[in-house]
């Protein structure tokens, strides 16, 4: 009965539009009241969930991304991407994907990528003769590569939940992120050839050199984050804060696009964005504690393993569950609720936790581009001034591409475990 109350309140809260964090809190409160457990469990578990050194990465990387963006990085990244791949058929589509991959090395969240790159690329693509629905669709699809390429806010959450090294997860995401980006570029190129989209003129080596120099300090930040983790110079938390300071120095004194008077506002707005995630983590920790107390993870794992112990089928089942949930639920909430039960199931058939973490995050990123609750889809449809239905149709080939990449990453551990193995 207690569990029925918990899940009914949870689904009811989501349906009426209650914030996900509050929904988790209210449903946990209803469960505790029904079971006669003191409500002090809520503040206690909230505190325990938020009191984590690893979570410090979140405000740090959000601030670094916002400072870089305010410093004029987006235009420089787009210019570099255009100089690299713009001359191919459908070059602006490829530029869009390349820019998302470069931007993903800075921001760590897909929504930030969709809004920043989309704000610049979607109007530009429309002006150059690309259909609005394609422009919005490719921006939404490619923005999901951001949290796969390090840094990654969802991976920080996974690290907090499971104790898996955040540094190793960041490194583990690099190859799948590149694979995803390249696969989307191929898809965009095929669509461009079929629909005869325009081709940009080759702008010459001079432009490529200038574009590279212009974006050098921004691209160097990704190298600095990955390199810092690889050589062990700093922990992910320290890297996040140093990246913020680096972004401030580059934005204000190198690119000179960041106005000093805007810095306090950017710092506070970044902190508010981070506070929302941290509050979600805190309240989800209460919800997660109830699920663990009710032995839900073990029950699910045992139930599935009693039907099949075939790793192929179990991985397929995990992916189907995550894809379905990702269509309806916010990424971080889905991770907090589902990661532990599904990790128990995955490790039960011998899947490496690091490997599982990467394909779970990749899977939930696909959910950001699918209706009914696809945040990146909404952002890009809004920027492109096209209906959700039009973008949904246009994004279908890219979702298919991402599903193929997901299958590759899920069934071939090499993609996610090879680079971290070099750390050992």
């Amino acid at each position: 009965m207690g569990l029925t109350i918990l899940l009914s309140c949870f689904l009811g809260g989501l349906a009426i539009g209650l914030p996900v964090a509050v929904t988790l809190g209210v449903s946990s409160m209803a469960y505790l009241l029904h079971e006669g457990i003191p409500l002090v469990v809520i503040p206690q578990k909230m505190y325990a969930g938020m009191d984590s050194f690893v979570l410090l990465c979140i405000p740090g990387f959000i601030l670094a991304g916002n400072l870089m963006n305010a410093g004029g990085i987006t235009a420089r990244i787009v210019r570099l991407a255009r100089a690299l791949v713009g001359r191919m058929r459908g070059g602006l589509g490829l530029t869009n994907v390349a820019a998302s991959m470069l931007f993903g090395g800075i921001s760590g969240t897909a929504a930030a990528d969709a809004a920043s790159i989309g704000g610049m690329m979607i109007p530009g693509m429309k002006k150059a003769g690309y259909p609005a629905d394609f422009s919005a669709a490719i921006t939404a699809a490619s923005s999901t590569v951001g949290p796969i390429i390090p840094p990654s806010v969802p991976m920080i959450i996974v690290g907090t939940l499971s104790g898996i090294s955040v540094g190793k997860m960041f490194i583990a995401g690099a190859l799948p992120g590149i694979l995803m980006g390249v696969a989307m570029m191929v898809t965009a190129w095929i669509i461009a050839r079929k629909k005869n989209f325009p081709r940009q003129e080759w702008q010459g080596w001079d432009e490529l050199g200038h574009a590279f120099l212009g974006a050098f300090w921004a691209v160097a930040m990704t190298a600095f984050i990955v390199g810092g983790l690889l050589i062990g110079f700093a922990t992910p938390t320290e890297t996040a804060v140093v990246a913020s300071v680096y972004a401030f120095v580059v934005g204000a004194f190198v690119y000179k696009g960041l106005k000093l008077r805007d810095v306090p506002r950017i710092v506070i707005d970044s902190a508010i964005s981070a506070a929302a995630i941290l509050a979600l983590v805190g309240l989800a920790n209460v919800f997660g504690w109830i699920l663990v107390s009710e032995r839900i993870p073990q029950t699910i794992a045992n139930g599935v393993l009693s039907v099949t112990e075939n790793p192929f089928l179990v991985i397929l089942l995990i992916n189907l569950v995550l894809l379905f949930v990702g269509m309806f639920m916010e990424t971080i909430a889905a991770l907090i609720i589902l990661f532990a039960p599904l990790l128990a199931l995955a490790t039960g058939v011998g899947v490496d936790p690091l490997h599982f973490a990467v394909f779970a995050v990749l899977n939930l990123m696909i959910g950001l581009t699918t209706p009914p609750v696809g945040v990146c889809l909404f952002i890009c449809a809004d920027i492109g001034r096209v209906s959700l239905w039009q973008v949904t149709k246009a994004i279908a080939p890219f979702i298919l591409t991402n599903l193929i990449v997901l299958m590759l990453v899920s069934y071939i551990p090499f993609f996610s475990t090879w680079l971290p193995s070099l750390l050992n």
Partner: protein
């Protein structure tokens, strides 16, 4: 009413910003200590964790107001007529009620901290546990302001987006 909202928002923004500032300085001190630039300090990790708790505590109400505390509104906002407005009002009232109902439990949790002391900073833990109480009060306060704003027709209950989110 607008003055009260502005004053509360201004206070919460400053407190959130100060918490973030403390985090940045403490992590840089920690890194400098580990790199041998200055003598290593033992309190930096504890201070950053505590500052993060207060960043969340002061920021959560603001994140509710700005819509960063995400919700699934595709169903509720697709309803006809005044129903979306009514659901926004109900959600704000539930959020406010949730916070208010938790205040006694949070106060009890704070009082437990009297018996504990942070190992390296040496501060009594009730001051740190108070972050949860502040978070709950902040959330219910901004939710209450939304309820009042909607009932007095000074706002429609939709989020006021941050400049960074535009």
């Amino acid at each position: 009413m607008q003055r009260i909202i502005q004053a509360l928002t201004g206070f919460a923004r400053i407190a959130t910003g100060i918490s973030f500032g403390v985090i940045i300085i403490a992590v840089l001190v920690q890194l400098a200590g580990r790199s041998g630039l200055i003598a290593s300090v033992v309190w930096s990790e504890e201070l950053t964790r505590f500052a993060l708790l207060f960043l969340t505590a002061f920021g959560v109400g603001l994140s509710y107001r700005s819509g960063n505390l995400v919700n699934v509104d595709i169903l509720s906002e697709a309803l006809p007529g005044r129903l979306p407005w009514a659901l926004r009002l109900i959600c704000a009232a539930i959020t406010c009620g949730f916070g208010l109902a938790l205040i006694p439990a949070a106060w009890f949790y704070v009082s437990i901290g009297v018996r504990q002391t942070a190992p390296s900073l040496g501060v009594r833990m009730d001051w740190i546990h108070a972050a949860v109480l502040v978070a709950i009060i902040s959330l219910s306060l901004f939710a209450a302001l939304r309820v009042i704003g909607m009932l007095t027709a000074t706002e429609d209950g939709t989020p006021e987006r941050l400049q960074e989110d535009h």
